[in-house]
């Protein structure tokens, strides 16, 4: 598309990945005043996963209107192209060293190394595959992730099959149930192992109810049948311990199984770099400036933790890009002095540390749905929440005044039912 071939040997900031995370980071770095930025992506064009998300629902927070995925991406790209930036597409980042030597490979430049003043990792996430949940049976064709099917249908114009069962009720699975139906593919049902749907109610209504597609909760696919091509799947209800009850199993004819069973941060590069990884997010541990455990290496977006709203990806990445530029120009803010811990009903917290001198946005994921709860930040702050669900990230503004009289070095965040008087015994 607009890939450059005359790479410099050195850049102030190199951004790995050109999804919404990478684009916002590059934009913020340029606005903060560095001279040279290189953004690299292995796809043929910038935009990341948004290019295949043709539905609307993006940008309500960031742009104040509902955009489709491609529109959201293009708005950022247009802003970016107002600045001087080098973009290398169709180009893999193979390696980043602790000294920030970045190895790239593409058909047009071959293998090249560039030295970066700071690096922003924005590689996004990849989908969990069937292997991750071990469904027994043969390996016929017709089994794929919902996101891959989305790319086939929305960009390449290929239909994955004629009758598709969907495993997993996350938003991607729901959106694909509608998309396949609109393309004339029959969708006999969506099967979810948990007792609750993982996607937004809006998607349950507009992607399933509108088309009379049944959603089977507490049910999973236990076997895939077929030699060369999927012929049918066996589904069975599960008990509270998620164990299938095979005596109530039944088979469903289909030629395609789309798995929408979650995203995992794409962290091969981070692992090679030896970054500290948080086992709860599967992404790098980051400070309040989105800096990882390596000096001058920043990260943002789905590579850090899985986001449900792209707007939050952009916000987080603007912060990462700004701080990468500050790192290069020697204008770093004071270091963090408070560690954040995930407490009761909190699965993960990002960032992992904050400082008491400025305002921070902290993102939390809960373990279980709760109506009417308290969100407590140690003993220093509490707020009422009307509801929490695992599918929606909770964001918390931590203001310096909360911490005026706090002299400890760590704070635990709990989300507890409102009728419960205090924190659970530790």
């Amino acid at each position: 598309m607009m890939s450059i071939t005359n790479l410099q040997d050195q850049y102030d900031v190199v951004v790995v990945g050109a999804g919404p995370g990478g684009m916002a980071a590059a934009l913020a770095a340029l606005r903060t005043g560095v001279d040279s930025v290189l953004m690299v992506d292995r796809e043929v064009e910038p935009g990341g996963i948004l290019n295949q998300c043709i539905h609307n629902g993006f940008g309500l927070h960031h742009f104040g209107e509902e955009l489709t995925g491609p529109e959201y991406a293009q708005r950022f790209l247009t802003d970016l192209l107002d600045h001087h930036i080098d973009i290398a597409t169709d180009c893999y980042v193979l390696d980043v060293t602790p000294d920030r030597l970045v190895t790239l490979m593409s058909p047009s430049v071959g293998v090249r190394q560039v030295l970066a003043g700071a690096v922003v990792l924005a590689m996004g996430a990849r989908e969990r595959t069937r292997g991750a949940i071990r469904i027994p049976g043969r390996r016929p064709s017709g089994v794929m992730t919902a996101g891959l099917a989305q790319k086939f249908v929305n960009q390449m114009g290929l239909l994955p099959g004629r009758r598709a069962v969907i495993l997993g009720s996350g938003d991607i699975g729901l959106i694909m149930a509608r998309r396949m139906t609109l393309e004339g593919v029959e969708v006999p049902g969506v099967f979810e192992i948990m007792p609750h749907a993982n996607g937004l109610t809006r998607n349950i209504v507009q992607c399933l109810h509108d088309f009379d597609i049944p959603l089977h909760l507490s049910t999973t696919v236990v076997e895939i049948h077929g030699r060369d091509r999927v012929e049918k799947v066996t589904v069975a209800p599960v008990d509270e311990r998620l164990q299938p009850d095979l005596s109530r199993a039944r088979t469903i004819k289909c030629d395609t199984l789309l798995a929408s069973i979650g995203l995992i941060p794409e962290n091969e590069l981070s692992q090679k770099l030896g970054l500290r990884i948080d086992p709860t997010t599967a992404g790098p541990v980051v400070s309040s400036t989105m800096e990882t455990s390596r000096d001058g290496v920043f990260a943002a977006g789905n590579v850090v933790h899985i986001h449900d709203l792209v707007d939050f990806v952009s916000q987080e990445a603007l912060l990462a890009g700004e701080n990468a530029a500050r790192y290069v120009t020697g204008r770093r803010p004071p270091a963090d002095n408070i560690k954040l811990n995930a407490g009761t009903n909190v699965a993960s917290v990002v960032p992992h540390t904050i400082s008491s001198d400025r305002e921070h946005t902290v993102y939390l994921r809960v373990r279980h749905p709760l109506e009417k709860s308290w969100l407590r930040l140690g003993e220093v702050y509490e707020k009422r929440l009307r509801y929490v669900v695992p599918a929606e990230m909770v964001s918390l503004k931590v203001r310096p005044r909360f911490l005026e009289h706090f002299h400890g070095d760590s704070l635990t965040i709990d989300i507890v039912p409102r009728d419960e008087p205090g924190r659970e015994e530790m």
């Binding site: 598309m1 609307n56 114009g157 937004l200 109610t201 349950i204």
Partner: protein, 132 residues
């Protein structure tokens, strides 16, 4: 739907927030709304009214594109359209094909199904080979 004393009750799931309140709308034989139940806030009531009398959806899909970077061009209607027109719009768009390059916002079908609503490109679609 169920009938009780000539009232027809229809159920809806509120999409206003993750609480997902189960809403019920009672309608009398004249087709007027008599009662709305099940909401926990105003948003839910408004949603039930709208969903019962004039449900609308944002339509997004793709059309064919020749000579483009990709085989499909994502498009969307400029406004929400009545839900019952969705299939007609989709079926019509399935027959449409454009030629690259296309710019974001370009009108692909003007005034679809005789409405005031246009269907426009959701992105730029550059030609497959910029040199060509």
């Amino acid at each position: 739907m169920s009938t009780d004393n000539d009232l027809q009750t229809t159920q809806y799931l509120c999409i206003g927030c993750p609480l997902g309140c189960r809403l019920e709308v009672d309608e009398d034989p004249a087709g007027d709304i008599v009662e709305i139940r099940g909401f926990s806030c105003r948003k839910g009531k408004t949603f039930a009214e709208r969903e019962h009398t004039d449900p609308r959806r944002m339509i997004t899909t793709t059309v064919g594109v020749t000579g483009g970077l990709w085989a499909r061009l994502p498009v969307h209607a400029t406004e929400e359209m009545p839900k019952h027109q969705m299939w007609d719009v989709i079926d019509l768009l399935r027959t449409v094909s454009v030629t690259a390059p296309v710019a974001m916002g370009d009108v692909v079908v003007a005034g679809i199904l005789g409405s005031e609503v246009d269907v426009v490109a959701s992105r730029d679609m550059p030609a497959a080979d910029p040199a060509a």
